[in-house]
């Protein structure tokens, strides 16, 4: 690129420069496999989730336009679902890739929109974009069944590669890059719209949520809220700047590994599994020809050093040669593909029938409804219990300094003369409250008392006091009360002041 190059030429080159679609091929191979991770468990219940014989939850219901999509009967859905699974497999292996990925895209979008409860999420929305872009791309032109079946350009010049990979305009890969960058940007804007995100509260609640897969690290980190606040800022900066820094520059080698780490941490702390993997698939779009050549060169260097890697390389080359010399199919692959589709549909109906989702065809016939324990039913149907005071308090922490309005050094021992902050973290929504803190000594006598008002929008209240020099060292209890009612207590120990004889 030269500085004098006109902008239109630069844009044209950006989108239409021919390249070998390595990144797209990797995305094509991996994305359907990732999606199979969520689609296969839903196969056995497709009648319940997506058919008129079950209980759908159309996405359109949330937008106040009911029944936007037609709902088919169980067998039709079973057939369509099997065809979608087949299309995912054929997309991955690259057999009739364009038709397969388009087919997969349409059916996947349809099924997602039928079940906004347990199928439609933002990563499935992203996946529909990716499948659409893959269907318009030459992703099946390399490393695919289509590529094996197609006639290859042989090159007998020993100084050049044996096979000349085909080249295509780069725009589908560019659009996938734009897609993930704009998704991050949108996610960053959402966080900016959510002020409580930057207090770390929402991230803390998310880490304590038991809706996703298990995430024990999240529970552990949720207790370190200052760190969460730092993560929140890092996340927003990463998401907003990705669109500027992820292109081919030195920044790319920082931003992309940070992205990989970011998504890996969402697995450990939030219990997300498929979402990060879908994002990783989009990262393949950042791999271009130069990256692939340097990676291939590195692999070749490594394989020369290792005998067994060398052997594997030789075997692969031999297999590729034999595959290339094999006679071509007489029947066009598209015809075979079309012939397989009805077989898959019929098989899908038969297999789904065997699943018997409602367990109606078992030896005992239809199920009867399960009665609930009468005591539990009484609890459930009684008027709601008035909210306890303790359920308005998330925690009470003591420390000596604040970072981002959060007690940064939780302590249970303080010294005479220290300024202590007692922080009450409140659980929204709560009403306006008077919060009183009473410090009692080991004889249960009140030695200090403070009170403050927590208005309904506050999520944190700080009560500051100084441990007076005349407060004798020993064990104390801080009790938190509201409207004269005891809520909870915090035990702490007062130590002698630094520099005194007793402190030694």
């Amino acid at each position: 690129m030269t500085r004098s190059e006109p902008m239109t030429d630069r844009i044209r080159r950006f989108f239409f420069e021919p390249e070998i679609p390595f990144g797209l091929a990797l995305c094509r191979i991996c994305l359907p496999l990732v999606l199979m991770g969520m689609l296969l468990p839903r196969w056995s219940v497709c009648r319940e989730l997506y058919s008129s014989d079950g209980a759908t939850g159309q996405l359109s219901a949330g937008f106040l336009s009911y029944d936007m999509l037609p709902e088919f009967s169980g067998p039709v859905v079973a057939a369509l679902y099997a065809l979608m699974l087949f299309a995912m497999v054929t997309t991955s292996i690259g057999w009739c890739t364009r038709i397969s990925s388009l087919f997969a895209c349409v059916l996947f979008t349809y099924f997602c929109m039928l079940d906004c409860v347990s199928t439609m999420t933002k990563f499935t929305a992203m996946s529909t974009h990716l499948l659409l872009l893959l269907s318009l791309s030459p992703a099946g032109s390399i490393w695919s069944v289509d590529a094996c079946l197609a006639r290859r350009q042989r090159n007998d010049d020993p100084t050049k590669p044996r096979f000349a990979y085909p080249r295509f305009p780069a725009w589908p890969r560019r659009l996938i890059q734009f897609h993930i960058a704009l998704v991050y940007f949108g996610a960053g804007v959402t966080k900016i719209h959510t002020p409580s995100f930057f207090t770390g509260d929402q991230l803390q609640y998310w880490m304590l949520t038991h809706l996703n897969y298990r995430h024990p690290l999240g529970e552990l980190l949720s207790s370190y809220q200052v760190m969460l606040v730092a993560f929140c800022y890092v996340t927003v900066v990463f998401e907003l700047t990705f669109v500027l820094t992820s292109w081919k520059s030195a920044w790319r080698f920082i931003v992309l590994p940070v992205g990989i780490l970011f998504h890996f941490m969402t697995t450990l702390t939030l219990g997300l599994i498929i979402f990060p993997m879908v994002c990783y698939c989009t990262y393949f779009a950042f791999i271009d020809e130069d990256d692939m050549q340097s990676t291939a060169a590195w692999i070749r260097r490594q394989s020369r050093r290792s005998a067994w890697l060398k052997q594997i390389g030789a075997n692969l080359a031999a297999w590729r040669m034999s595959a290339d010399n094999r006679p071509r199919w007489k029947t066009p692959p598209q015809v075979i593909f079309a012939m397989v589709l009805p077989v898959i549909a019929v098989l899908g109906v038969m297999i789904e029938y065997k699943f018997d989702v409602y367990e109606e065809r078992g030896p005992e016939g239809r199920h009867s409804l399960v009665a609930i324990d009468p005591e539990l039913a009484r609890q459930m149907l009684a008027p709601v219990t008035p909210q306890r005071d303790i359920d308005k308090f998330f925690a009470v922490d003591m420390g000596t300094f604040l970072v981002s309005d959060i007690v940064a050094n939780r302590r249970s021992t303080v010294r005479q003369g220290e300024n202590v902050i007692t922080q009450c973290s409140l659980i929204p929504p709560h009403g306006d409250m008077n919060i009183e803190s009473k410090i009692r000594d080991s004889d249960n006598q009140i030695v200090e008392r403070m009170s403050t008002i927590a208005t309904r929008e506050m999520v944190r209240v700080n009560l500051k006091f100084t441990i007076a020099d005349n407060l004798p060292p020993g064990d104390y209890t801080m009790s938190i009360e509201t409207a004269g009612r005891f809520v909870l207590k915090k035990k702490f120990t007062v130590l002698p002041k630094y520099g005194t004889v007793a402190a030694r």
């Binding site: 939850g57 937008f63 725009w171 734009f178 609640y205 409804l369």
Partner: protein, 205 residues
């Protein structure tokens, strides 16, 4: 021609994505059509301070209560170890899930169907070990049960109230006597719109 179509698609796609971002940023039209779900990326749209589970209970004519979600067949757990009904935050599919359970099982006639929220503050989700490290109080979780809506056996909605957290939010506002007093002050008795013909329950000074 191929290049022309490619350019058109690139333009359309980037325009659609940009409009989605703009709509979300300016908070304008982001929910006007279901297709906006595919262009608005609000992944972190707010996580509640409370954990919520959703139950649908049927009351038989004998007075016995039955669990309608999940149905008595093998449960499907989409993202871990929770049944599908617990992910229906908006409550759009609970009705169809309950009716499906009634359709697919043998049961006595139902007097009513009740949708219930089970709510508890999320800090009770901490493990006992993590709780002990931070709190001096023993862990004493309590779940609040909130009847969100009631239906007849055929699915006709008989009553519906906002969710428990909205109730708490409204309660925190309505606990203000001065505000309630202001609310009734100066309210007209007669308004042309039939929806607003609500007489004041107190006489104006």
């Amino acid at each position: 021609m191929k290049r022309w179509f490619s350019s058109l698609f690139i333009g359309l796609y980037l325009t659609a994505m940009s409009l989605g971002i703009a709509s979300q940023t300016m908070n304008f039209g982001s929910t006007f059509h279901p297709v906006m779900y595919f262009f608005v990326w609000d992944m972190f749209c707010g996580w509640s301070s409370h954990e919520i589970r959703y139950h649908v209970v049927g009351e038989g004519e004998s007075g016995t209560y039955y669990e309608l979600t999940p149905g008595p067949w093998k449960q499907f757990m989409p993202y871990g170890d929770l049944a599908r009904a617990h992910y229906d935050v908006l409550g759009n599919a609970q009705r169809s899930m309950a009716l499906n359970a009634l359709k697919r099982t043998d049961h006595e006639p139902m007097r009513r169907i009740v949708m219930i929220e089970e709510v508890w503050p999320k800090h009770y989700n901490m493990s006992d070990q993590a709780w002990a490290a931070r709190f001096d109080e023993p862990k004493d979780p309590l779940a609040y049960y909130w009847q969100r809506s009631e239906m007849a056996e055929d699915g006709t909605v008989l009553g519906h109230v906002p969710e428990y957290l909205s109730y708490l939010r409204m309660k925190s506002v309505s606990d203000n006597p001065r505000l309630i007093d202001d609310l009734h002050r100066g309210r007209d008795h007669f308004v042309l719109s039939p929806y607003q013909r609500v007489a004041s329950n107190r006489s104006d000074p």
